[in-house]
């Protein structure tokens, strides 16, 4: 059963994807990822203020391209969409993080967000995230993704 925090994170991520990129995400259990192999990217953004922590998103590169294509109204095989895939996914992470923080802390506090970073995720890293109970699984237009909202201390 999802906690209130997980519900907030999940609902915000799905809403941002839908409004920003007209893509639909649905929560997926770990079994949906059991056979997933190949290349993965991990994107991270940190935040500080009344809450301190980071939001991480793990996706396959092809999802980044599909995202950029949707945001820009292009075909997935358009070279321009390929070039902007990472940029588009960083933006989704940035917007999701900002919206989650407002959902959790309200509109009074001021948060500072870091610039999103991306790096390849190796197989052990992927396996570790699959075992991490705090990482939430999604299928985004049939592409798998993991989202992890980590916060220091407890949320008031």
């Amino acid at each position: 059963m999802e906690t209130k925090l997980e519900q907030t994170v999940s609902a915000t991520f799905c809403r941002v994807l839908e409004q920003l990129a007209f893509m639909f995400a649905e929560p997926a259990g770990r079994d949906a990822f059991a056979s997933q192999e190949g290349e993965w990217l991990i994107l991270s953004i940190g935040f500080s203020g009344p809450l301190v922590g980071a939001l991480q998103l793990v996706v396959p590169p092809r999802l980044c391209i599909a995202l950029a294509a949707n945001m820009l109204g292009m075909d997935d095989d358009d070279d321009a969409a390929g070039d902007k895939g990472l940029d588009a996914m960083k933006e989704v992470l940035n917007v999701t993080c900002g919206n989650i923080l407002t959902e959790l802390a309200g509109t009074d506090p001021v948060f500072t967000l870091t610039i999103p970073e991306v790096k390849p995720l190796d197989a052990p890293g992927w396996a570790g995230l699959l075992e991490d109970g705090a990482a939430m699984g999604f299928l985004i237009d049939d592409h798998p993704a993991l989202l992890r909202f980590g916060v220091e201390g407890s949320i008031p």
């Binding site: 409004q19 820009l72 109204g73 902007k84 933006e91 940035n94 900002g98 407002t102 509109t107």
Partner: protein, 131 residues
């Protein structure tokens, strides 16, 4: 009458989405400038007149808040309407920015109609100024 716009965001994708929104909304555009951060925006403004600036807040090198402060220091540039397009959700910070001359705030993810509404409101596109 057509207008010059400056879109400041470190995401090229977002810049393209805002530009596309302006085109699709039928906003009369003369020139559309883009900048990836506040420093690049100031360089654009040194050689070009802009009627309205859309800017993000969280950007590398020079963010939106520093950009707005720089604009405030310049007698000419401080007259340009600035619209924040950001994931920022803090009313406290938004009020601080409005006190520095920001005319409107659009939160990401935004509905395209909001861009048109803001342009209408601050450039009077629907007041007989259309080309």
């Amino acid at each position: 009458m057509a207008f010059n716009f400056l879109i400041v965001d470190d995401s090229e994708t977002v810049r393209k989405v805002i530009a596309k929104t302006l085109h699709m909304a039928g906003v009369p555009i003369n020139q559309l400038f883009e900048a990836g951060n506040g420093k690049e925006a100031l360089a654009v403004l040194q050689g070009n007149w802009v009627d309205l600036i859309f800017t993000d807040i969280n950007m590398p090198i020079m963010g939106g808040i520093e950009l707005i402060e720089k604009l405030c220091e310049d007698g000419m540039l401080k007259t340009i309407p600035v619209v924040i397009v950001s994931t920022e959700g803090s009313q406290t910070r938004i009020e601080q920015l409005k006190a520095k001359g920001v005319v409107a705030y659009i939160r990401k993810p935004f509905q395209p109609e909001l861009i048109r509404k803001v342009v209408d409101e601050f450039l009077g596109v629907n007041d007989g100024n259309q080309a």
